[in-house]
């Protein structure tokens, strides 16, 4: 077995164990409702996390994700309710802006050799600041097209819903997986994350790849923003604060290394679901105060990572033992 995929299997195993443990304590968690909710509620997070996976695989980081989601939401709300733009056109405008925004950050990161952390931090401030300048109010979006999209869902047996945005997330993940492993761009991303100098010497178009990665992250953040606005039917400048950390956590729990070059998009999906399970568990428990919620989230985060490491360690040892004989 290839040792690279071990963290992925470990994460999957942990995810299943965690869900089983939850169901054991709260049998109601074993329902299509909860499963459907996991997809719907984490749709925007998942979509943004796909972009973040590529960024992190390339050895970078994108802190602007949450702000860009909020920015998209506010922009859509303003365009649709104030200027009467059709949502589809508003979507296109928003995606264009966020993609260019991401590409711009990528260009600064590559050509000016400024660390991604700082560039995207400035991007985070800028996007959030632009929200405030557009409007500080939260604007509800009331449009039949929105209502139509929200009404699109497949009713699962047991009352659960497979919603449009939940499905969209799955599609984005599938595209992400294919791109990462079966496209030239994907291999360039891994190459840049593995070793930038080597990649350059091997003739990988590093500039184009870097800009492409951040453009893609911008695009997906924009898409996540659209999903978020569908999710809440509103634009709000304080929305999605700190989502970048949630996405980073999802990516990392999914087994991707922040140093770049190692990881799987599929792992990120499991990471997102694990985070969703933690949230759902806390809601079902319902006795945790604000602070215990934080502590429990921290402890669970730690146990997942620790368990993952232990599993990888053990299985490495096992393969070692068998092939060593």
């Amino acid at each position: 077995m290839n040792t690279r995929v071990l963290p992925l299997y470990a994460t999957l195993l942990i995810c299943i164990i965690a869900y089983a443990a939850c169901v054991f304590q709260f049998p109601a968690m074993f329902s299509t409702r909860v499963a459907g909710n996991l997809l719907t509620d984490n749709a925007f997070l998942g979509i943004a996390a796909v972009g973040m996976t590529f960024v992190i695989l390339s050895g970078g980081i994108d802190l602007s994700v949450g702000s860009v989601i909020a920015f998209t939401g506010v922009l859509l709300a303003v365009l649709i309710t104030r200027y009467g733009v059709h949502p589809l056109i508003a979507f296109a405008i928003a995606l264009l802006i966020t993609t260019v925004f991401g590409a711009g950050m990528g260009a600064i990161i590559h050509y000016l050799e400024v660390p991604a952390f700082i560039v995207t931090l400035a991007g985070m401030f800028l996007a959030r600041g632009l929200c405030f300048v557009m409007t500080t109010d939260s604007i509800p979006i009331d449009h039949e097209f929105y209502a139509m999209l929200q009404g699109l869902f497949y009713r699962l047996p047991g009352g659960g819903r497979l919603t449009f945005i939940g499905l969209l997330m799955m599609v984005v993940f599938i595209i992400g997986i294919v791109m990462a492993h079966f496209s030239k761009f994907g291999s360039y991303v891994y190459a840049v994350g593995g070793n930038r100098t080597s990649a350059e010497l091997m003739g990988v178009p590093v500039a184009r790849t870097t800009i492409g990665i951040y453009a893609m992250s911008g695009f997906l953040s924009g898409l996540a923003g659209i999903v978020f606005s569908l999710y809440t039917s509103a634009g709000y400048s304080l929305a999605a604060v700190g989502v970048e950390l949630d996405t980073i956590a999802a990516v990392v729990i999914g087994g991707t290394l922040l140093t770049g070059g190692v990881g799987y998009v599929a792992g990120t999906f499991i990471g997102v679901i694990i985070q969703g399970i933690i949230q759902t568990y806390i809601v079902f428990d319902g006795t945790l105060s604000s602070w215990w919620t934080k502590i429990v989230v921290g402890v669970l985060l730690f146990s997942f990572i620790a368990l993952q490491r232990i599993l990888v360690f053990l299985s490495l040892k096992r393969t070692t033992a068998t092939s060593g004989g």
Binding site: L112, V114, F125, F132, A249, V252, W291, I295, G298, R309
Partner: protein
């Protein structure tokens, strides 16, 4: 010696120019910016505010510099600040004497730092993840200590750390300056500076050279935790209360920003604690300037983003050899004129 100083000065050029520019803009926004007077035996003025408000971030940046130089990052400093502040406040309210309170708060920071250090050095977790755990849980612990409320205290001994002064200089500035000199002295007078840089650049090679990189990492994170605790005490003392919900919130980003603005690479290696402190001052000067400017608060973040971008452009311009280029231009022009 003087050649070394001028070399250091040219290296610090973009930062110094940025600071000067920001101070000048502040002056334009508010002509009384440079006025300093004595108020109740304590220096008083906007410039003092910049340093006084900047002190916690300076202290954080000192610890963070070491962490970043070792090719790590510590996201938990804000939460650690909240913990130490909460502990100090609740212990004071329960009547413990000030020295014990301070020691306990610093001890809590040390413990947090050790926890991070163990995860990073011995369990080989990625620093950002390892410290993310404490970032999330730590604030919860702080809130657990205060039970979600703001614990107000009136112990003059503790308050002194936030609003007291010595020889006219506010305590936070004094503490930050003291820590800064101490840290620089330790780094310069011992081999720690070299060794930290060494593990930051190439940990494997450092281990091959016989360096105990695990222990060193542990010490670095522990130190960063203590710095955060110190900053937490100052912030709590300043408002005479521990606000576990908000103390140090997002300050980890400011600290990291300060270090990077100061020129230390996030990829580890060469570092300068003094420059990080300068970075913290630049950030605070910008924040104070925004407050004084009278712009509506909706513009705060945009202004902040623009300033950061300008500083970074200046920095990368100089690191890509821009200054030398300009100087060359300038010289050759001067030569032409002669």
């Amino acid at each position: 010696m003087s050649r070394l100083n001028t070399a250091a000065l040219t290296k610090a050029m973009p930062q110094l120019l940025s600071l000067m520019l920001i101070l000048f803009l502040n002056y334009l926004a508010f002509p009384g910016f440079f006025e300093i007077r004595l108020q109740d035996g304590r220096l008083f003025g906007s410039l003092i505010d910049v340093l006084n408000r900047g002190a916690p971030v300076i202290i954080l940046a000192i610890g963070m510099t070491a962490v970043i130089a070792s090719r790590g990052v510590d996201l938990s400093v804000g939460a650690v600040m909240a913990i130490s502040g909460a502990l100090a406040a609740t212990m004071t309210v329960s009547g413990y004497p000030v020295p014990i309170v301070i020691l306990a708060a610093l001890g809590a920071g040390l413990l947090c730092g050790l926890w991070n250090g163990i995860l990073v050095a011995y369990f080989d977790l990625q620093p950002i993840v390892a410290t993310l755990i404490l970032m999330v849980a730590g604030r919860g612990i702080a809130q657990l200590i205060t039970e979600g409320s703001i614990v107000t205290f009136n112990e003059p001994g503790l308050i002194f750390f936030g609003t007291g002064s010595f020889a006219g200089i506010p305590m936070p500035i004094l503490i930050a300056a003291l820590l800064l000199t101490l840290a620089i002295a330790v780094v310069r007078r011992t081999a720690l500076g070299l060794l930290i840089e060494s593990i930051g650049i190439n940990r494997s090679a450092s281990s091959y050279a016989g360096l105990n990189s695990k222990l060193l990492l542990l010490v670095i994170y522990a130190f960063c935790g203590v710095c955060a605790a110190l900053a937490g005490i100052i912030i709590a003392a300043d408002i005479r209360g521990a606000d576990a919900n908000n103390a140090g919130l997002w300050l980890e980003l400011d600290a990291i920003l300060a270090v990077v603005v100061g020129g230390t690479s996030l990829f580890g290696g060469r570092f300068s604690i003094l420059m990080s402190a300068l970075g913290a001052v630049i950030i605070q000067a910008m924040n104070t300037g925004i407050l004084l400017s009278g712009f509506p608060p909706e513009y705060n973040l945009i202004l902040k983003a623009l300033v950061i971008i300008v500083i970074l452009l200046a920095q990368s311009f100089s690191s890509l050899g821009g200054w030398a280029f300009l100087k060359g231009e300038f010289r050759s022009k001067g030569a032409n004129r002669q």
